[in-house]
């Protein structure tokens, strides 16, 4: 897994590539939560995402809730259909705010 963070308007965009699994869950959560601290909102660009495992999904949801508790917006963008599908049938998808493209996501939370 790799995370590249870059500013875009008032938001930060974090492009996540590779797999989010139990093995990288801690790194994923800590990295993004600290990034969130300095931004008005965070767009997770999932275009390059690989596998999102059971533990990965839970980490994502925990991060989402932590961000909301901190009064920050966190949205998902460009989620590949295959990942969206897994998130949907396991009941995770409807818990997130999602956008088709990073541009739309940035525009929405800026």
């Amino acid at each position: 897994m790799n995370i590249t963070i870059s500013p875009s308007g008032k938001a930060l965009v974090a492009a996540v590539t590779g797999d989010i699994t139990h093995a990288v869950a801690g790194e994923f959560e800590a990295g993004l939560f600290s990034a969130l601290g300095s931004a008005g909102g965070l767009v997770l660009d999932f275009e390059g995402i690989g596998l999102l495992t059971s533990a990965g999904l839970r980490t994502l949801l925990l991060l989402y809730r932590e961000s909301r508790q901190a009064g920050k917006k966190l949205v998902l963008a460009a989620v590949p259909d295959s990942v969206k599908d897994v998130m949907s049938v396991t009941g995770f998808w409807e818990q997130f705010i999602t956008y088709g493209t990073v541009e739309n996501a940035v525009a929405a939370i800026s």
């Binding site: 699994t21 596998l51 049938v89 009941g91």
Partner: protein, 704 residues
């Protein structure tokens, strides 16, 4: 303060950092920093934990659990720095091979954990198994947290349930279902709007505990495909949802998908009952494979003969030794688990009579397992339904040890209504008894009508369409020379065996189907219908379709277009049941107890009011049900003419200002065959009612 003071390794075994584990809970569970394992055996001499790489399936390591880690008969170990998503596991037990004494240890086998929460190996339905894999079913650990968003079991009163018995795969596997993930838990969710439109408020799922659809699989010369264990009455793991029913099974996310399905069904007001098989396991008899229980503690888990062979009260090779305290605990723990972790609303216990036997098969007066289940606080509100017989000849219908909690699949309801439907003589009185909730079976034990799960068809036997289309079973496609399956079908083909182009026969079959569905919804007790009966699903006369993963079993959704009339009728009679509390009361109606409008709770009639005909030749049953409720009087008149001639029926007189209104009449073609509650046409007071041949009516009372 955070954390625990005991979560650090104290030993190293084969390079793994470990410490003595926590004995409870049994199985594998996530703990901070690692994974805890706990397994029981009364007789094994050693226990090793075997770890495999989840991706490559290669052996990762094997650790013999030191005796110092053992408390009583339980080995437990915590392993640190073990990524829970990276491994699968099993146990290897050493112990005596002494079949006469009941011991069949085999250290060459890696065994599945009996408490395992998720199992790989059969996670994609129908994927060709690797026959050379010595350990095909492997346990893995899953996060068990789930965001239920306030969901809990619905606890709908039993009388208000309308149960829809269905097979997860069969419900949406057919291409015509149009769902993105055919044949899965996700597919069920896609069809919730359909279930809502039908009006059922409970689905009873054929077995969903992990099983192997390839068990006993062999090429089928009749169909050209393989015979499969399609129904799934052969459990591999009692705590694990079937992976092959999950669209996400290949990712190991079947538990989340299953929970998501339950949450969605509950949000639509639909309960979930599981058909559970605790009478036997998938290990068969002494010739069967050693997968788990046999290799862990054979003489504890199974009922054995004095020679060390397996009692076969299940008809499936072995019998789980349910009243042994250890096994009893496992069953109880399993039920609690599904209720608390999966929010399951109830259970239907397959061949439940076995659960009342002791280790030798003798019938117990006060079976501890059943008592424990009935009185358990976690299970207190969930539905408990017994199939009150077993393959060993024990038949406990009406007498199942119920502790005021268990209801029963009422086989007599099925038989008597089928007989009357086909026009058998001498059944009018029996049908009246069944419509009353079978007080003959349940009143002596102080049980009400909710002890009776009323059904005319279920997965085992003819579908409703086949019940009116076949005189005999046609099971050739099972490749057993038509020997398998029940011969006591009490069916009638309406004049021609199988498909018919004769419009009169087609019309009669439709009418007979409506008669059956109306009687089912009118009868006191809890109605259960079979998936697809509302759209004329056929198995082409096969009454034992256990082995077909094909169109014998898959619900063809194009039937819905062709059978709109039957679907509409079914929907409306379900709505009528829901609209009328008198049909759902929790006691048997009595003819000597006041009901409403001057009528007793139930009164029986014939062609003339108050003159029922209970003679052998009678083909007419007519009942008036009446009760006073806080929201008003509820009075219904129901009449069923099972004879081939029409009958002129004089209706019981109503007080001034009230009239009978037709709410269902199977003698009329649609749309006059059924009406929305309260919307049917009035019958002129004093007029007689023509009840057509093989027809039934339900009348409501409303202001004129």
């Amino acid at each position: 303060m955070s954390g625990r003071i005991d979560l650090y390794p104290t030993f190293e075994i084969s390079g793994w950092k470990v410490r003595p584990g926590r004995v409870r809970p049994y199985g594998a569970s996530l703990v901070a920093g690692g994974v805890n394992f706990s397994v029981f055996s009364s007789t094994a001499t050693t226990c090793s934990l075997v770890l495999f790489d989840r991706q490559s399936r290669a052996l990762m390591g094997e650790l013999q659990v030191p005796d110092a880690f053992k408390i009583g008969d339980v080995w437990s170990i915590t392993i640190f720095d073990l990524d829970p998503e990276s491994f699968e596991y099993g146990f290897r037990m050493e112990g005596p091979w002494d079949p006469v004494a009941g011991h069949r240890f085999d250290a060459s086998k890696v065994l599945l954990d009996p408490y395992v929460r998720s199992i790989s190996g059969r996670d994609v339905w129908g994927a060709t198994p690797d026959r050379d894999d010595g350990f095909p079913y492997r346990g893995f650990v899953i996060p068990e947290d789930f965001d239920w968003r306030g969901d809990r079991p619905l606890e709908i009163p039993a009388g208000g349930l309308v149960i829809y018995e269905m097979h997860v795969r069969g419900f949406t596997r057919h291409p015509s279902s149009g769902v993105p993930h055919p044949g899965t838990y996700a597919g069920v969710v896609e069809k919730i709007p359909y279930l809502e439109s039908l009006g059922v408020n409970c689905v009873e799922l054929l077995p969903v505990f992990e099983f192997d659809e390839f068990e006993m699989s062999e090429p089928n010369p009749w169909t050209g495909d393989n015979k499969m264990n399609y129904w799934g009455y052969s459990t591999v793991g009692f705590f694990a949802p079937k992976g092959g029913y999950a669209a996400t099974g290949s990712m190991g996310m079947q538990a989340d998908e299953f929970k998501s399905m339950v949450r969605a069904l509950h949000a639509a007001g639909i309960e979930v009952i599981l058909d559970v098989v605790f009478n036997h396991t998938c290990e068969g008899d002494h010739r069967g494979p050693t997968i788990s229980f046999r290799g862990l503690d054979n003489q504890i888990y199974y009922m054995l003969t004095p020679e060390g062979y397996y009692h076969n009260f299940s008809g499936c090779g072995n019998s789980l030794n349910c009243n042994n305290p250890v096994v009893r605990d496992m069953v109880l723990e399993c039920l609690r688990f599904w209720v608390s972790e999966y929010h399951i609303d109830g259970f239907r216990f397959d061949a439940a009579a076995i659960l009342g036997r002791d280790f030798s098969g003798a019938v117990l007066n006060n079976p501890p397992l059943l008592e424990s289940v009935a009185l358990d606080p976690i299970l207190k509100k969930c539905k408990l339904i017994a199939e009150a017989w077993d393959a060993g000849g024990l038949y406990l219908l009406g007498k199942f040890p119920n502790y005021g909690r268990f209801s029963e699949w009422n086989g007599k309801f099925r038989d008597d209504l089928r007989d009357f439907l086909r026009g058998e003589s001498g059944r009018a009185g029996l049908v009246a008894t069944r419509l009353s909730g079978s007080p003959d079976l349940y009143e002596p034990g102080g049980r009400g009508p909710q002890a009776s799960i009323n059904f005319i068809t279920c997965h085992d036997g003819f579908t409703l369409r086949d019940l009116v289309s076949y005189n005999a079973k046609h099971n050739d496609a099972n490749a057993e020379d038509n020997r398998d399956g029940c011969d006591d079908n009490r069916s009638w083909n309406c004049g021609e065996e199988g498909d018919s182009g004769d419009p009169e026969i087609v019309a009669l079959r439709l009418r007979q189907s409506k008669n059956a569905l109306l009687a089912l919804m009118v009868a006191r007790g809890t109605p259960m219908m079979l998936m697809g009966d509302e759209m004329g699903r056929t198995q082409r006369g096969n009454n034992n379709a256990y082995c077909h993963d094909n169109e014998f079993n898959w619900l063809d959704w194009t039937l819905l277009d062709r059978e709109q009339e039957l679907f509409r009728f079914t929907r409306l009679v379900i709505a009528l049941r829901k609209a009328h509390p008198v049909l759902r009361l929790g006691h048997h109606p009595r003819s000597d107890t006041p009901g409403a409008l001057g009528f007793p709770e139930v009164s029986w009639h014939g062609c003339r009011p108050w003159e029922p005909d209970w003679s052998d030749d009678s083909r007419i049953v007519a009942a008036l049900f009446a009760t006073a409720t806080p929201s008003g009087d509820d009075v219904l008149f129901y009449a069923w003419n099972a004879g081939h001639l029409p009958a002129m029926v004089e209706l019981p007189a109503l007080p001034d200002g009230l009239v009978w209104r037709v709410s269902a009449n199977t003698g009329c073609p649609a749309p006059d065959d059924a009406f929305e509650p309260g919307q049917g046409p009035a019958i002129r007071p004093g007029s007689r009612f023509l009840l057509g041949p093989r027809s039934s009516v339900l009348l409501e009372v409303l202001p004129g």
